[in-house]
């Protein structure tokens, strides 16, 4: 079971990274109100600890975690709590959110003295990550402290830094690795401190040779960390494919990475862990790529969470052409948004503005059974048949044909010459099956 640096299946779409890959990360200051949805993570929504009219400082906790699988939320500017009300978020729902009026002073709280990593106990490290509200910033938003508390910590053999960034157009992780590689490495070291038997692997796609070089140089004296260049292919950064490519271990949909002795965290998450553990700073920023052929000046920004999307577009020079579709995230797994009046959340990695919607340009035709989806599927299933089962509502056959092994990466829809909405159909069926399982 050797690591092969790749996986079976996958696709090579136009990567669009040239638009923004040479643009350094730029700090931007929010102008309007900041909105903090109470549910920016998987698990119970956070509970507000401030009320309307309260004055808050940058870095002050405004909502506390509601249980173990939950995460607190912090103010990213100083100002006044204007309201706690329903606000629209990227997925289109209206959810409870705290609205803060920015006073423009950016007064910060005192984060307190910080003990060096070596003097912290494992419990203290996890506690700090939990307190800082760190969640998986690759997109899922799973609270990181839960991930860092597996049942048998001694059995964790690999901590994998997900530096693949396989989604087309996204360059936020790339810029982070180029500009602040030490922070990523230090974040990985914080996680390694929790698991005595673990080795650290920094898994980078080989289309970023400069990152591989820098990370290798900086980790040459770190016996526990290796840098691995993986084959450039979408979805190399999907958790299960990444673990397989980096370690040769394959987990199925019923398993967690920890079951195979692995913990996976992405670049931005590791940086957040680092500032939580070494500086006592809560999660307040994230890097967002604003790109696409409709954007005048595609860029990478360090954004204060809560900043309105309109401001990001303005900072990137606005639209040079009318966008037909705006995607929150990458083009393969991101979701289309219909309203820009939404806040940046902990999980927003990119804002992609496209002048053409390739999906609606072509009409769906009948399946010709060509098998391109089968060759492309990293989950090793038969997407075309699963979509047929989904259309018929045949849950039994869907599960028998391993429908639950789908990771919703979108490769099947991408390659389909008949332009079928395979991923969409399979995704909805998976949701129904998962809902059924929950009921039982």
């Amino acid at each position: 079971m050797g690591a092969r640096g790749t996986f079976t299946g996958g696709i090579h779409p136009y990567d669009g990274k040239d638009l923004s890959k040479d643009k350094p990360i730029k700090d931007i200051l929010p102008k309007g109100d900041l909105v903090y949805p109470l549910s920016q993570h998987i698990g119970a929504p956070a509970v507000p600890v401030v009320k309307k009219g309260d004055h808050v400082l940058t870095g002050q906790k405004i909502a506390d975690a509601a249980g173990f699988v939950s995460a607190p939320i912090y103010a990213t500017v100083s100002g006044t709590v204007k309201a706690i009300e329903k606000r629209r978020v990227t997925v289109g729902d209206n959810v409870n959110a705290i609205v803060i009026e920015n006073d423009g002073k950016y007064e910060e709280v005192d984060y307190g003295e910080c003990k060096p990593l070596e003097e912290l106990t494992k419990e203290e490290i996890v506690k700090k990550v939990q307190e800082a509200g760190v969640v998986g910033m690759g997109g899922a938003g799973f609270p990181t402290h839960v991930k860092l508390s597996p049942k048998e910590p001694d059995k964790i053999e690999y901590v994998i830094a997900n530096c693949a960034e396989c989604e087309p157009y996204l360059t936020s992780d790339y810029r982070r690795m180029l500009e602040e590689p030490q922070k990523v490495i230090d974040g990985l070291k914080c996680v390694l401190a929790l698991f005595d038997n673990a080795k650290g692997i920094m898994a980078v796609e080989d289309n970023k040779p400069d990152c591989v070089k820098i990370l290798k140089e900086l980790t040459k004296d770190e016996p526990r960390i290796t840098v691995k260049a993986l084959k450039t292919k979408y979805p190399q950064g999907a958790e299960r494919q990444l673990i397989y490519a980096a370690t040769g271990r394959a987990i199925n949909s019923d398993m967690l990475p920890a079951d195979a002795g692995c913990i996976v965290d992405n670049v931005d998450t590791l940086v957040a862990i680092n500032s939580a553990v070494r500086e006592n700073k809560p999660l307040m920023y994230r890097i967002v790529t604003v790109t696409g052929d409709a954007i005048a000046d595609p860029r990478n920004f360090r954004v204060r969470i809560g900043t309105n999307y309109h401001e990001l577009i303005d900072e990137a020079g606005g639209f040079k052409e009318d966008p037909e579709k705006i995607v929150n995230g990458g083009p393969m797994m991101g979701f289309a948004i219909f309203d820009l009046d939404v806040p940046t959340t902990k999980t927003a990695s990119a804002l992609l503005c496209l002048t053409h919607d390739q999906v609606s340009e072509k009409e769906e035709g009948p399946c010709i059974n060509c098998g391109r989806c089968v060759d492309a599927c990293p989950g090793r299933v038969i997407p075309s048949r699963l979509a047929d089962f989904a259309a018929r509502g045949d849950k039994e056959s869907f599960q028998k044909w391993n429908g639950m092994e789908c990771c919703e990466c979108g490769c099947c829809s991408f390659v389909c010459p008949a332009k079928r909405q395979l991923t969409q159909q399979i995704k909805s069926m998976r949701k129904m099956v998962l809902a059924d399982r929950k009921k039982k």
Partner: protein, 310 residues
Amino acid sequence: MSDLMKVSSNPHIRSKAGTSKIMLCVVLALMPAAAFGVYNFGINALLLILITVASCVCSEFLFDMICKKKNSIGDFSAVVTGVLLALNLPPNAPWWIGLVGGAFAIVVVKMLFGGLGQNFMNPALGARCFLLISFTSIMTNFECDAYTGATPLAVLKSGGSVNVFDMVVGRTAGTIGETSMIAIVIGACFLILLGIIDLRIPGSYIVSFIIFICIFGGHGIDFNYVAAHLAGGGLMLGAFFMATDYVTRPITIKGQYLYGVLLGILTGIFRIFGAGAEGVSYAIILGNILVPLIEKVTLPKGFGRGGEKI
């Protein structure tokens, strides 16, 4: 910024591949074989090809119109069926053979089952077998101006000797498009380079067929005999253009290998133990029928359940 934004489920980008593009490439890939057929057999071959294609396209158009369905001839699949069927006809067949065959292929074998993607049998082969049974004397008469003798495979079966070089080039009697191994392989290479077909089925088909005739052919490992069997009859056309037909081959990867092996064995049985010299058409049609079963036994296991490596 316009008020109307498009929203849809992920992914938001699509590859450039399209059904009609694929079909057009297959038509193009069949052109070397068709051109050689016309060069080899004369103008009647060209006429037959044109009539068969026209018959296929018109049948689909009329069927769609009568059944009030959306016109589907734009996907060019009817053209592929027409060319394939014509390449499987004897060069001196009367014009109405192409007309009847084309209509049968499209209406009975394809459209009645639901149109493109729904047929369980290759339309061109279904029609060929229908013609072969219905008009046996016409369909097995390969005599024409250029060639008066039997097909090389028939000669081989009766124990005669054949010129393998002529067979590879295609200067022999046979159906319009099957005689030239070189022309067929050129077209096949074009499709393989474009990634439209792969070697899973043709490779396992040809290899298993070679092994079969080496064991049961009665000539042992005789290079000339094996080469004659490969170049003769419809094996090359069948292996590269008909066994690889998307709709009627298994979609599972392991299933494709199994299907190829099955076709190799069936073709061997029909050619060596059967009454006729040919066997490719029947082998593929029989294989088509077994596809659901093949898919069932070769279902992939899924990532993380033992199916991650293929």
